[in-house]
């Protein structure tokens, strides 16, 4: 999958928000790449910085109170952070498209679905209304909206939640984007409706060969959709690798902690092993490794408190920001024994 040049390259990005309580370090020196045709799953809990990173790519950080104080976001040889609003507008919705969590708040309630879709087309391309309509109806058919020609003239409230989200995906791919950013695209939907939307999302990816950033808190979605995974904690990348590495040989205790916390659909676990404590405050992150106060592997070792771990490269594209990543095999065995889950199993 990962071949040739990345379509997007985020380098050392720092995004902060100034609040009365102090500076919120939402994104703290984050780097990752997205290649054409691949899906990068970005996973983390609330406040991990996964959405703010994507908003920074889209130039949607309100400034002030936000500010991007460091880094580069390279898209097709251009640094998006240096572009004017006007230049960004030409890219956004055309080469870079997005799908958000709640389609009701991202659609205009007083315009028909068709008018909004057609606008997405005509903004970036000089085509007649008829051509735009024809293309939009085809797109609605592609995303399995029944009776697409009639549906084109309906308003968002006449669509069900799942259908609205499918229409959003249709709109996102209307201009053959090179990069698709999907931020919790199915979180608001029921699981049978999620299945419909995921099917459509995969069709859309096949149609466009766009690189995709899939932001979610749902590890099941990551396991099913992602080629590579970026795990975030406290505004930082703590582990990255291909999806099999992340799920079957995690090399960061936070990644393993997430898996040990998760009830499984396909098997009965003896017990869950939660991560103790709560996520950190982004205003005053713990010193050294931000995860150290909750970490069983670190067990209070001084190095975790004093040195912020770099992203250690472990080969084959796998990287972990843990000083003691080489102790993870034993830690996985311990978790397998306490929870009854099999993580490091060989073969399928």
């Amino acid at each position: 999958m990962a071949a040739g040049q990345p379509i997007l390259s985020i380098r050392d990005l720092v995004t902060e928000f100034v609040t009365p309580d102090g500076v919120v370090h939402a994104v703290d020196h984050v780097s990752y790449d997205v290649y054409p045709g691949e899906t990068v799953g970005v996973v983390g809990e609330s406040g991990s910085g996964k959405s703010v990173t994507a908003m920074s790519v889209l130039g949607l950080i309100p400034q002030p109170p936000g500010r991007i104080s460091n880094g580069e976001i390279i898209f097709e040889d251009r640094d998006l952070l240096t572009l004017s609003h006007k230049q960004l507008r030409r890219i956004r919705g055309k080469d870079i498209a997005m799908v958000f969590q709640d389609p009701m708040t991202s659609l205009n309630p007083v315009l028909t679905i068709g008018a909004q879709m057609a606008e997405a087309v005509t903004t970036h391309e000089d085509v007649s209304d008829e051509v735009a309509r024809k293309r939009c109806v085809e797109l609605l058919e592609l995303v399995n909206v029944p009776d697409a020609d009639a549906r084109f003239d309906q308003y968002p409230h006449e669509f069900s939640g799942g259908m609205r989200q499918r229409a959003m995906i249709a709109m996102a791919i209307a201009n053959q984007p090179k990069l698709l950013i999907a931020d919790e695209p199915t979180t608001a939907l029921d699981v049978t409706i999620q299945a419909q939307v995921l099917e459509v999302l995969e069709t859309a990816q096949d149609e466009t060969n766009a690189g995709t950033i899939l932001i979610t808190h749902d590890l099941g979605l990551i396991a099913e959709m992602a080629d590579r995974v970026v795990v975030m904690y406290g505004g930082r990348v703590v582990e990255t690798g291909d999806v099999d590495q992340i799920f079957h040989s995690p090399r960061h205790p936070y990644t393993l902690g997430l898996m040990a916390s998760l009830p499984r659909l396909d098997t009965d676990l003896e017990r869950l092993e939660p991560i103790p404590g709560s996520p950190p405050s982004l205003i005053s992150l713990p010193s050294g490794c931000a995860f150290h106060p909750r970490c069983r592997l670190g067990a209070g070792r001084a190095r975790c408190r004093t040195d912020e771990p770099p992203l250690y490269q472990l080969g084959d594209g796998h990287a972990s920001a843990c000083h003691f990543h080489d102790e993870m095999r034993l830690e996985i065995e311990r978790i397998e024994q306490t929870t009854g889950a099999s993580i490091a199993e060989e073969g399928a």
Partner: protein
């Protein structure tokens, strides 16, 4: 219902009987033919425009020390069922039996005594705790209402004990809800529910609003409390993995009806109702090596859940079901044990399908 029946239902049995702990494994709560319809009124004269049939004739039982999971998608009536069982909503029809006492027939005053035994924990710990009350007051309130906040032992010490029980530091009892994280707030809600030493807890999506790592903490807490206190749980949730982990038996709901009911092994490993099969197949498996098989076996349902004010005739699932035939529109399938599993399902064409796993 006559006045005489009401009186006996309320006053039956001595006080000890109602509050005596039911031994583990013995039935403690039975719901029979429970119906909750919401009238729709509209138009100029406020005429009756029909009813939303949120819960339509559901029956099940819960044993002491056991967890029954009530699972389904939004709008299936699972939360309405929970609220009707504790009579936050009045049932349209049916019986709710706590130790043979029918809650559906009791007056507000008579209910008071039974309510001690059946408490509820809500989904959103941000909305269900009064922001102007310190934690101490929130947990003490049920005790005060029942006149049990008395003296050092029954009062302050009891609150501290409850906070310790749910894993909170009693020294934080003078803090306000906003000073706690989501997971800690849910612990406060649980402490409040436990204040009167109930035997049954209705848990309405208690972990849905929480992040994964915190969710696991609360699930473990609920399991520990059940072991220590012998509680019976009705665990209402949409997350099938969570329901599988915590439940002993599971009822699957669709559009106001229970479509399948059985032990978790039966329902998850040998589902026979097409809706259960589709629901289970739709959940992404947290193992990339099972991705291809999971997608291959996935049943993607068409369309959306119909309007509960105007449900389909016969089987309510037939409009989305790939097995539907004429009989499904004319004859409502009964929830019966079709394979002698002790595991009923409400489908004319129920059949076993090898489940993933």
């Amino acid at each position: 219902m006559t006045a005489g029946e009401t009186a006996t239902a309320g006053a039956a049995g001595p006080e000890e009987d109602l509050h005596a702990r039911t031994p583990a494994g013995q039935e403690i709560l039975r719901v029979q033919g429970l119906v909750k319809h919401f009238q729709i009124r509209g138009g100029f004269f406020g005429r009756d425009r029909g009813a939303v049939q949120a819960v339509d004739d559901i029956s099940f039982d819960i044993k002491a020390g056991e967890t029954v999971g009530l699972v389904g998608e939004s709008g299936c009536g699972k939360s309405t069922a929970g609220r009707t069982i504790v009579r936050l909503l009045d049932p349209t029809d049916g019986r709710i039996l706590f130790k043979d006492r029918d809650l559906s027939k009791l007056s507000r005053r008579q209910l008071r005594d039974v309510r001690r035994e059946i408490q509820i924990v809500f989904q959103d710990p941000y909305a269900s705790l009064n922001p102007r009350m310190a934690v101490n007051e929130i947990v003490a309130e049920p005790l005060r209402v029942y006149g049990r906040y008395r003296g050092k032992e029954g009062g302050r010490e009891r609150v501290k004990e409850l906070l310790r029980l749910v894993g909170l530091n009693p020294e934080h009892r003078n803090r306000y809800p906003h000073e706690f994280s989501g997971g800690q707030r849910q612990r406060i809600g649980i402490a409040r529910a436990l204040a009167l030493d109930p035997q049954v807890l209705i848990l309405d999506e208690p972990v849905s609003a929480l992040d994964v790592s915190i969710q696991a903490q609360v699930i473990n807490l609920l399991e520990e409390l059940q072991d220590r206190l012998g509680l019976a749980y009705l665990f209402i949730a949409h997350d099938l993995s969570v329901v599988r982990h915590i439940s002993d038996r599971i009822a699957v709901m669709y559009l106001g009806k229970i479509v399948e009911f059985g032990t978790k092994q039966e329902v998850f490993d040998r589902p026979t109702h097409p809706y259960t099969q589709a629901l289970l197949s739709a959940v992404p498996i947290t193992d990339p090596r099972q991705r291809e098989r999971s997608k291959r076996e996935r049943i993607v349902l068409e369309g959306d859940v119909p309007n509960p004010a105007n449900p389909p005739s016969g089987c309510r699932f037939r409009t989305r079901c790939w097995k539907a035939e004429d009989i499904c529109a004319t004859e409502e399938p009964q929830l019966i044990d079709r394979f002698n599993h002790g595991h009923p399902s409400a489908c004319h064409f129920a059949e076993l399908r090898a489940a993933a796993g």
